[in-house]
């Protein structure tokens, strides 16, 4: 009689053969030796590559199909999808590019991949209302200082220490001229989805420090205290953050955040 252990062994051998590993059993070897086995190997790999490439359209524009497909295949080997929904496949691809030898000549590329990833995350994130400046203004200042501004579930914020990855990315996304002069320094960016469409803008690095603190659940006063003394204060950039849709609500009593 058959057993579940046999089914499990079959799937173990089949999966190993898909990865090109040596078969654990003669039956597994015979299976992988059938010419048609390549159909499964190709379909599995193609599914991973297509999903990763689709989620990194700007990286693809920069490096071309052949390059990104080779990088995607190498990534798939070490980070296969875990989720049946491939719409979100690719977490960690930017970190992978940081160490991927062929990308060493393109030091801004991992940053561009992080922005493509942020776009995908914003696109798939939960819906939430946007906290507007009027709601903030309606909160008495002493209560506001003790309240937590909760970042919008679709908001992502990114820093690029040395390279203008955001400018390169947005020129591609916005169809701008690609040959214009680039100022070669670090940048900070916000990617958001206040409604159904993903949006982006450059940001003050101090605003990102503030967002980090808000995401940790710190109340306004403490979050503002995180900003460097010589950096511009909230009055400079908070209105812009609110208008962009960076927050979804104010938690008046600290500790009640979800």
């Amino acid at each position: 009689m058959s057993s579940l252990a046999e089914l499990d062994a079959f799937q173990r051998d089949f999966a190993a053969a898909l990865r090109g590993q040596p078969a654990c059993s003669p039956a597994g070897a015979a299976l992988a030796a059938q010419p048609a086995f390549a159909v499964y190997r190709n379909t599995v790999l193609r599914g991973g590559i297509d999903a990763l490439v689709a989620n990194h359209p700007t990286v693809r524009q920069l490096v071309g199909d052949e390059w990104i497909e080779a990088a995607a295949a190498a990534f798939f080997d070490v980070v296969p999808p875990r989720d049946g929904s491939l719409a979100g496949y690719g977490e960690g691809f930017a970190d992978f590019l940081d160490r991927f030898a062929p990308a060493a000549e393109l030091p801004y590329l991992a940053g561009v991949a992080r922005l493509d990833r942020a776009w995908t995350e914003a696109h798939l994130a939960a819906d939430a209302p946007v906290l507007g400046a009027t709601a903030l203004a309606a909160t008495p200042p002493e209560r506001l200082l003790q309240a937590v501004l909760v970042p919008h579930p679709a908001a992502r914020w990114l820093r690029f220490a040395e390279h203008p990855s955001f400018t390169i990315w947005r020129r591609h996304r916005e169809g701008q001229a690609l040959d214009a002069e680039l100022a070669w320094h670090g940048e900070a960016a916000l990617v958001l989805r206040p409604g159904l469409g993903v949006e982006w803008r450059d940001a003050d690095p101090a605003a990102l420090d503030f967002l980090d603190a808000c995401a940790e659940g710190l109340p306004f006063a403490e979050a503002a205290g995180r900003i460097a003394d010589d950096a511009p204060g909230p009055e400079t950039w908070l209105g812009g953050l609110l208008a962009a849709g960076a927050f979804c609500r104010i938690d008046i009593a600290p500790g009640e955040r979800s």
């Binding site: 046999e6 059938q34 010419p35 049946g84 159904l196």
Partner: protein
């Protein structure tokens, strides 16, 4: 003929706007559930909007019902949430596995149809149906390999699965054709022997020869129009068993929406012709308990 089974179209994001605006009679849409079980955003909003105008079918590709690793409970929860939200007319999955070592292998993988496999798949179909609070349809796979260790013919396996779990069956006629060519057997005999009273949906798609091995290996590629012999299989099934909700699938090399709509119109006409040829026999045969597309269409199609 509001209550007669009609033809639907597989829907891809590229065609959302046209799909939303389309008013073809009896038109319904099927999507891959995984593309929409996201937390929020446009993918969900689009599908809700389509669902307000057309009946929907959710087709899962990743639950790995024949897999030996535990069911992905989080994925099942997301599917259940989508089913609650959209109330689709049909929900379906595959007789296949696709997970190993915690990784998702994006394909529908085969397995020996043993007694143990039957009991295992039946248990998982039951778990899914309990989580969703409804029956689902299970699709016959396309085959490329000759496997050792089968203890059941595929049709007997599916019929018994349906008997044990109450699931209905999704008959993919392109899979039938491709499998017969690749691993042997008669596609016509398969269609004739398939338990028609359990069939709640039919799939049609295109295939093409393997680039390396040529016509002796056909790939279920979903990137081409439905082939003539597959249309013949639809005529054959409808002549024997009457029409069923029938879907045109196209997942790659997408043509314009109008091209797909024209192909769907062929299927629509074939279903109608089959129904007309069968006189006054009721469409919902006794024994079919699921809420099928026809009843849903009667409730939800705007005009």
């Amino acid at each position: 003929m509001m209550s007669a089974p009609t033809a639907g179209l597989g829907l891809k994001a590229e065609h959302y706007e046209e799909a939303l605006a389309c008013r073809a009679e009896g038109l319904w849409f099927e999507v891959h559930a995984e593309n929409h079980w996201v937390a929020g955003g446009p993918r969900r909003a689009w599908l809700q909007a389509i669902g307000e105008r057309h009946p929907l079918s959710l087709h899962g590709v990743s639950l790995s019902l024949a897999g030996t690793e535990p069911l992905d409970r989080e994925a099942l929860g997301r599917l259940a949430a989508l089913v609650r939200e959209l109330e689709p007319a049909l929900v379906s999955e595959h007789l296949a596995w696709s997970r190993r070592d915690g990784a998702y292998l994006p394909d529908l993988l085969p397995f020996p149809r043993s007694d143990a496999a039957l009991a295992h798949v039946a248990s998982r179909v039951t778990q899914v149906q309990e989580a969703l609070g409804r029956t689902i349809a299970i699709e016959n796979p396309s085959h490329y390999l000759v496997l050792e260790g089968h203890e059941h013919e595929e049709i007997a396996f599916l019929a018994e699965l349906s008997r044990r779990t109450g699931c209905s069956l999704l008959l993919d006629l392109n899979n039938v054709f491709v499998s017969a060519r690749n691993v042997g057997g008669s596609a016509e005999a398969y269609v004739d022997a398939f338990p028609a009273e359990r069939v709640s949906e039919i799939h049609l798609a295109g295939h093409r020869p393997d680039p390396r091995l040529g016509a002796r290996l056909l790939i279920d590629s979903h990137d081409a129009p439905v082939a003539d012999p597959v249309w013949d299989l639809l005529r054959r099934f409808v002549a024997r068993a009457g029409p069923r909700p029938t879907l045109i699938e196209r997942d790659a090399a997408l043509p314009p929406f109008e091209t797909l709509l024209a192909e769907r119109a062929i299927a629509h006409a074939l279903l109608g012709a089959g129904a007309a040829g069968r006189g006054t026999r009721p469409v919902s045969a006794p024994g079919r308990s699921e809420a099928l597309i026809p009843e849903c269409a009667a409730q939800r199609v705007v005009r």
